[in-house]
């Protein structure tokens, strides 16, 4: 476990190698997106339409989604590293490749958690947002969301291996689909035309949208966690099998 912790630590330090000042544009953009987004939902929710959530829940949902955005939809470096040739290096170390990717990803979250999430969490009351979770089951739901996120990300990495030099395109399509269907930007329950009823059972809905709905108390934790468990149990064996088979097909040129 120590070696994975060390990998995570190195990944965290790598983010700040150029100095914290170079992380500030990303922090500023996150703040500048979050504040108007909070006001956008205020405007929308004051229209009086029924949304299955009250304004306080909606603001908390949006705020927490932004604070924990890296964990809501997992994006490892696997696909990028495939085209950059870095992925091959992982095979030269006495550690599991997927484990290294997971540790590296988790470590990379820390600078943004410290520079953005922590200060913004402290400022939440000033923005009129309550960060009190409605259920302690949020933590379990978040862990299942992270676990499923890794499984889905590794499957996309396998797709990149299969399709060779299309990793950038796959990444774009995946980001677009996941951002809409995971419920991290718009809660699944708010999708119109009955789309919500179909969408809530697909695996992407078990990512960010699930722990967030448990956090604000807009969904029954039991059914949400059960669905997350089912998708984890279905996708992890598939991921491990597909990744094992895909490894033979890895072609890296280096960047």
């Amino acid at each position: 476990m120590f070696k994975y912790m060390k990998t995570a630590g190195m990944s965290c330090l790598e983010k700040t190698n150029g100095g914290i000042i170079y992380l500030l544009p990303d922090v500023l953009i996150k703040i500048c997106t979050l504040i108007p987004l909070i006001f956008l939902w205020r405007v929308v929710m004051t229209s009086g339409a029924r949304a299955g959530m009250n304004m306080s829940q909606m603001l908390t949902y949006t705020y927490v989604s932004s604070l924990l955005s890296d964990m809501m939809v997992i994006e490892t470096a696997a696909s990028g590293w495939l085209s950059e040739g870095v992925l091959m290096k992982l095979y030269g170390r006495p550690m599991s490749v997927l484990g290294q990717l997971a540790a590296q990803t988790a470590g990379s979250w820390l600078p943004m958690l410290l520079l953005f999430s922590l200060p913004m969490a402290l400022l939440a009351p000033a923005m009129g947002v309550s960060l009190k979770p409605a259920s302690p089951w949020f933590l379990l739901s978040l862990l299942l969301c992270i676990s499923l996120g890794f499984a889905i990300d590794f499957l996309f990495a396998c797709l990149s291996i299969k399709l060779r030099n299309m990793s950038w395109l796959i990444s774009r399509i995946r980001t677009a689909i996941v951002s809409l269907f995971s419920g991290t930007i718009i809660p699944i329950g708010l999708l119109p035309l009955g789309i919500d009823r179909i969408m809530k059972y697909q695996p992407f809905a078990c990512l960010g949208g699930s722990p967030l709905s448990v956090y604000v108390g807009s969904a029954d934790p039991g059914s949400v966690i059960l669905l997350q468990l089912i998708w984890n149990m279905l996708l992890w064996p598939v991921t491990l099998l597909v990744f094992k088979k895909s490894q033979e097909g890895i072609v890296s040129y280096g960047g």
Binding site: P25, I29, V43, S179, L193, G255
Partner: protein, 282 residues
Amino acid sequence: MAVKNKVLRILKLFGISARMDLTWLLRDTKYAIAGITADIISNLSTVSGIYLIALRFNGIGGLNTDEILFMMAYSTITTGLFIMFGSGNNIHISRIIGRGQLEHLFMQPLSLKVQLFTSGFTPFTGGSNFVVGCIMLIIAMQRLSLPVTVWWVIFLIAYILATMTIIVARAYLVSSAAFYAPVAAEEISSAAIEGTWLLSTFPLSGMPSIIQVSLLTILPEGLMAWFPSLCLLGRAPLNFTEYYPLAFALILSLIASYVFRKGLNYYVKKGSNRYVPYGFRR
């Protein structure tokens, strides 16, 4: 005569870029179509989020669903133009500067401006969002029964040009940091362009004035779709003049031009340290 020759030369260079783009489409059709699909899905995902909220709540902040569709169409057109004219990292200029590739342009028998203006033109593989945006715009205009006059069309083109100018000017302004810190600022244009893309689709109507004004001045995301769309719908917000986007684009481009030139002067004296003697990038 000199101006005419220059214009002809630029058109020819656009033609060369277009021919190379077509060649790519014909020779590697599978990959090119995948790229076109990725562009369309990526943009539709961004704009559909706001549109779906508008559908669910019958509008946002005083804008009805069709007006939101009009705004999303405007945003899609700008995205389309951005991809169509900026596919060679010529708008993501910090990548070229940060990677030490500006020298490659110095070797060409063309001015830097002309090369950067024409090198990213991809009408065949990069024009899909522009077409989708135009279709969305026509649908929205029909649903809104907008009275289209020659002046309205001129204003539409002027606003789109102003929006594009703001995107390019801001990218060049922040990318000037890459002249001084090539490694750390290599991707700074992505933060300025992609990082704020979602924000640029927000309808700001109904938000507090301080947010609206901030997003029209400090961080001009309101000028990417919301403000020009409202002007085209005949309701310039906040009592601002409808010429505001044009004035903002002019001022920002002058500032960006000054800062970029300063950075370029520094760069030509100091050079880039990105390449090791045997060719690899640090």
